[in-house]
Symmetry: C2
Subunit: 216 residues, 2 copies
DNA sequence: GCCTGTGAAGCTATTCACAGCT
DNA sequence: AGCTGTGAATAGCTTCACAGGC
């Protein structure tokens, strides 16, 4: 049924398409052609059509894609029907910013608990989210059936936190710590390394732009 | 002399290698083999060797790479000799976290000024960095010869800020706003879209890990 | 005519595999 | 023996180009 493995890049673009389309819906637009969506997404029309093949929604040659229907199909493809809780470990400056960033943004994908082992932070409530001590991590994660974790601790603690997450049944990690994590092959890690990103930008700002630097 | 265009991924890994090597130096290690560095970086030994080809530093078959020399070569390749100032626009939660994240981290790559048009924020000093009004953006950027900009404003303002940056002579953008930016082809954009990243993680947490989900 | 869906081609990135060195 | 550097092979991703539909 699921044809094969779908690439991380494709999933990323589908997520982007959905966001763009939801924005369009709010403006009253009803339908869209692949080349229009491509312009908004910063890619080619062929890319859009190729990506949409995997979700199984098919457009009409003379009206393009019905935006509402396409958003629904993307949701059916991307979202967990029962919603997907997330936990965050590391309530420093960055952790707090992430908490506020995701607070109330996508109802299907919310941070249900945050953890830190600084006693000054434990039990405080930030952005509507309570800070728990790390000791209660595994039990809370299992109770709430959480499978996605966000790591915003310093590099030195990141591998330990990742191990704890894996041990607690988490299958996907969003890692802000600037080191690669070692995890079992059935766990997915997405690294968001700001230092690397900034050094890349600095390099290409100096050495010529390379045209296509988008979308990782 | 510069052989051809070097891929964004290669530059990202070189930046990572350097950071790992600097950490090793602190532990007193003197030399390293490609397969050891590969393990730390989460890639293959062939990848490491291939990447290092572009920096022109060459190791010895029986001692591997001299760590200190390699770090120097990476610096010569990646860094701007006179240091690279950076500016940030958008001093919200995320902007503040980024300011603190980069504060004092890499001396060659510092945020020299931040901008916001909220009068409540202007002239305050956050993380040793003064907040300026957007009106003074172009003059400050040109005065300080800045070529790298960081965008941490809401999606609705991001394109306008990007335009201002490009107009002011900036050639590389690190974009945290969750929309693609339109810029001239000689300007490099690196997108760090946290929403997309989290949706990817949620997808693969549910639908199987795909093994290689690292490094964008 | 201009669109979609898609096989096939083209391109980019990674890995293989081995000559050469020590 | 075990490493580096690198041409050649492979795998993965994107674009081309066209058949089919409205």
């Amino acid at each position: 049924m699921k044809p094969a493995t779908i690439s991380s890049k494709t999933i990323g673009r589908l997520s982007l398409y959905r966001r763009l389309l939801m924005g369009l819906l709010a403006t009253g637009a009803k339908s869209i052609f692949s080349h229009q969506l491509a312009t908004k997404a910063g890619c080619t029309a062929a890319q859009v059509r190729r990506d949409l093949m995997v979700v199984g929604y098919t457009g009409s040659p003379n009206r393009g894609y019905d935006i509402l229907e396409l958003v629904k199909s993307l949701g059916a493809f991307l979202d967990d029907p029962r919603g997907e809780g997330t936990v965050l470990v590391g309530v420093g400056n960055l952790g707090r910013a992430i908490l506020s960033y995701f607070s109330g943004r996508r109802p299907k994908l919310t941070i249900v608990a945050a953890f830190d082992n600084d006693p000054m932070k434990v039990n405080r409530i930030i952005q509507g989210c309570r800070i728990h001590p790390l000791e209660s991590f595994e039990s809370l994660v299992r109770e709430n059936d959480v499978h996605v974790g966000i790591i915003t601790v310093p590099a030195s603690d990141a591998q330990g936190v990742a191990d704890l997450m894996v041990r607690s049944g988490i299958h996907g990690l969003l890692n802000f710590a600037p080191i690669p994590l070692r995890v079992p092959p059935n766990v997915y890690v997405e690294d968001l390394d700001m230092t690397m990103a900034l050094e890349k930008v600095a390099y290409f700002a100096r050495n010529g732009a390379l045209e296509k630097g988008d979308l990782k």
